[in-house]
Structure formats: C-alpha cells, structure tokens
Symmetry: C2
Subunit: 307 residues, 2 copies
C-alpha cells in the first residue's frame, strides 16, 4: 500500500467512524444533536470537535477527530522520546457522560502516528487505541457484555490481544494517589503497535476499525437497557463524587491530557473529557455492604469478566 494511501485510508476511516458514532449516540439520546466546532492548529492541521449536551440521556459528551502534523520539537524529543524530522497524527477521541448514574461513562480513542525523515519518507508508524467503561453502579451483565464484545473482536485478530490489552487498560487508568483505585472497569488499551512481517499496516487499520465500531456494539445496548432506570438524589450525588475521581485521573495522570495542555493543544477539545457537574467532598465515605462499596471493590481489584 503506497504511503499516502495509508494516511488517506486512516483519515477516511476516522471521519466515517465519527459520523457513525455520533449518529448512534443521537439515536440513543433521542433529543439532543451534536454541534461541531472546526478548528485549525497554528503549527499545522486541525480538528473537528463535536459536542452534545443536556440530552435525554447524555448530560455532556464529545466525539472529536483531529489531523495534526508538524516538525519534531525539543519537547517531543525529550518528553515523548521521538526522533525524526516531521510527524503526523490522526485519531478519534470520545468521552460520554450520561445524566443517569445507572448509565456508565465511556471513553475511547483510536489513533495513528507517523514519523518522517528530512526527505519526508516514513521512518516509523504506530497504532494505538482502546475503550474503557466507568460505571457508577455496577451491573455485572453490562461489564460482561462490554468486555465480551472486545474479547470477541480481539480474538478474530490474535488470541493474545484481549488478555494483554485488557491488562494494559487495567494498568493505565489508575489513580495511584487513591490507593491504586481504577478509574473504571477497564476494557482494552494498546499503544505503539508497529506493523511487521506478521501484522501488516492493513491488519492494524482493520483492527482499529473493528474496535472503533465495537464501541457502538459494546456501549449503545447498555445505554438503552439502563437509560430509563430510576435513581435517587443520593445516587446522583455518588455519581458526582465518582466523576471527581475521573477529573483527578485525567488532570493528574493522563499522559495525553497533560501533554496536550502543556504543549499548546486546543484546551477546549482536550478538556471536553471533564464531566459536566462534579463534587469534591472531604473524605467521602460510602456505606458498608452497599452498591457503592461493591463498585469500589471491583475498582480496587480488577476482575476477569470473560471466563
């Protein structure tokens, strides 16, 4: 596959995925529509940020794509350990915060990175991505459905993927300052996957497509199942406390967020990931033997959902 067609194929996929995911979310919401902000990056490229707010189901959400490129800077060399003359990155990133605490928050991200020498020849290329689920109340059948969807997808490509990428996800989304509590119940996460003689460029693009569309298959049924469940003010309160932990992870630990904020990324697009309303209580304590405690136990000790 000629170099340019790789980029083209990836860009077409990312934009199509953005359209299809936004469409699926709008149908599940039944009221609000995404609005789009197109932005330019002064150093090269730009993006399409799409946000939804105050829907029937979704209190706040963003489904963003970006195509960005430029010269390799000192910061990239030292902080990202990247060597080359020029770089290119394209990906989709989404975070959805539902109103109802019975519906989980979800995040996903799929991206391709290319590095070039001074002749603009590709000298390196890698793929990364993943999807993870953050419930406020844990329905075991939802966790099983979510993980099984990604296990089935992974198994079509390589039997080793699901266990490896599930573990990478559990190991990444961790609030180390909260006794290693996980942000949620995980999913899959992979990074720096380079095509080789066994796994071609097409293989990785195909895998990202399957995982990317897996979002709709994995998440929308959970939304539809739970979106009309009743909830109490104290359950909403708990959701807002847990959303505080989401903020803590994203601002203190998430490499992408911190790197973006410290290198003049588009702040509003990066921080669309933050939840709409949040509470920070001093030393919030949940009741013993409660649904809240059940969740915390799973977050402290990730579980195998596909056995």
């Amino acid at each position: 596959m000629p170099t340019n067609s790789v980029k083209e194929q990836w860009i077409v996929f990312i934009h199509q995925l953005q359209d299809d995911i936004c469409n699926a979310l709008e149908i599940a919401d039944g009221k609000s529509k995404f609005i789009e902000d197109v932005w330019q990056r002064p150093e090269g490229g730009g993006g399409k940020t799409r946000v939804i707010a105050n829907g029937n189901v979704f209190e706040k959400g963003g489904v963003n794509t970006s195509i960005v490129y430029g010269d390799v800077t000192k910061t990239m060399q030292t902080q990202l350990n990247i060597n080359g003359e020029k770089w290119f990155a394209c990906g989709l990133s989404l975070v959805i915060h539902p109103t109802n605490p019975m519906v989980p928050t979800v995040h996903c991200n799929y991206r391709m990175f290319e590095l070039y020498n001074e002749k603009e020849e590709v000298i390196d290329r890698w793929f990364g991505g993943g999807t993870d689920l953050t419930p406020y109340y844990l329905f075991d059948e939802d966790a099983v459905h979510f993980h099984k969807t990604y296990k089935n997808i992974c198994d079509q490509y390589d039997d080793s993927f699901y266990p490896r990428f599930k573990k990478e996800c559990d190991d990444y989304f961790v609030n180390t300052h909260r006794n290693n509590e996980r942000r949620g119940i995980g999913g899959i996460f992979y990074d720096h996957q380079r095509p080789n003689e066994n796994k071609s460029i097409e293989f990785w693009i195909d895998f990202a497509k399957s995982c990317g569309y897996g979002f709709i298959e994995s998440y929308i049924p959970i939304v539809n199942k739970n979106k009309s469940l009743p909830y109490t003010p104290s359950q909403k309160y708990w959701q807002e406390i847990r959303r505080g932990r989401y903020v803590e992870f994203n601002l203190v630990h998430d490499r992408g967020t911190i790197f973006g904020l410290k290198t003049n990324g588009r702040t509003e697009s990066i921080l669309m990931s933050l939840p709409p309303t949040v509470r920070f209580d001093y030393n919030h304590i949940h009741s013993p033997n409660s649904e809240e405690e059940k969740l915390i136990k799973i977050l402290s000790q990730p579980k195998e959902w596909c056995i």
Copy 2:
C-alpha cells in the same frame, strides 16, 4: 536562637495560627464548626486537618497543619533538587470555598523547611508562604483592601517585599493552558527565603506571623461585607465554572499538589483544596461587557491595586 527553639517556636506559631484562623472563620460563618482529623505519616510526622462544610457562609473549607520529616529520598533529590540526609517541614495551608459567589475563595500557606547532615546538624533552612484571593465577581474595593493589608505588612519589613512577592504570586497562579489566565487577583507569594546577616531567623518567623495573622485582617472583612449579598442561579453557575479553573490549576500546575499526590502524601488533606461543586462546560462563553468579562480582563492582565 538554638536550633531546637526555632522548630519549637515555629510549631507553636503554626498551631496557634490554626486555632485563631479557625475561630475567626467559625465566627464569620455563624453556624458550622471545624471538625478535626489527626493523621500520622508512616514515614514520619503527621498533621491536623480541620474541615468545615455546609455552613451559613462556607460551603467547604480546610485549615490544615502538618509537621513532617524523614530521610531525603531520590525523588526529593531529583524533583526538588534537595541535598542532605534528613529533612523537616512544618506549615499551615488553607483553602476556603464560600457558598455565595459574591464572597471570594481564598488560599494561604506558610511553611518552614530544614535540612540536616548525617550528624543531624541543620545545614539549610528556608521559609515560604503567601495568600491569594480568587473572586468570582470583582469588587474593586475588596481587591484594594486585600492587597493593601499585605502591602502594609510587607512594608514594615522591607519596602521591596510587596512588589516582589505580589509579582511572584501573579506569576505562579497561572493557567498557562488557558491563555495565561490567573487563578485569581493574587496577593503575595514568597519561597526559599533563607536567613542571612541582614534578615535573621527571627525576622522570617516574625514576617510569617504578621502575614499569617494578616489573613484574618485581609479576608474576614470581605466575608462579612459580602456574605449576605443576593445572587442569582446564573451567578452561582458562573462560580461553579470558575471553580473548574481552580481545579485545573491545582491538579495540572500546582507544584505542591502534584508532588504530594505523586509521593504518597495524605490525599484527602491535599485535595481538601478542591471546591465542593464544580461545572465543566464545553467552551463556556461569558457575555460581553458583563461583570464576568470584567473579572476575566483582570485575570488576564494583573493589576496594581496599591497605587
């Protein structure tokens, strides 16, 4: 002054200041009382965390003291550039979040640090501290009163202090990822002040005492003046949006917070600084020529309040 009496004098001051500030805040609140959590640090020392919540005036606040010590670790050597065998630190740190958006949030911190060689002799000692104000609606007379209080205190010690420490404060509390918007209207901030032939240990302890008690003089009158002012739901909304910026500064930029969270500090005491309820909207826009815009202009371009 013998070494031990420096420590003792500082510790007595910090605890007395904690008592006196809590007392002044309880009187201004008129309803809620501080509750105290005493905690131990496994590696040495501990603290007294005092929190107030759901008062007439204060929605959430903490006035914490800690006395901590231990061996100089690799992390301290590399991240804090500290060389020595053992260290000691003692300070007071407070953050107060009022309910009413007409009453500003305030933060202050006063601390002493000592370093020892293997014979436990003091080889270095420095003082740091400051107080800064974060209004949601700007009353010029409050800003003038707050800054003048600290200028008057500073001027009793050294004419160069107020201009220098005011600038350090303006330069430190900056959301660089928000076009260098300041967290608030500043105040004073000083760090790494070492006693020398001109300015003795007593000088710096005395200065910290004057600044520490200056908190009561600078902040309480503003609370009493504004705590009964009416406000609208949309003004409360604006406060919660601005509190989001406070969260962003503390979690993304504040050196003390990040260092504490990454080095096994007591998370609940560190994060008592986060506001009780917060909103993160995508691309929140304030009205032109509004009170909100007036605030933002000052935050973008710090002003001289004492001229």
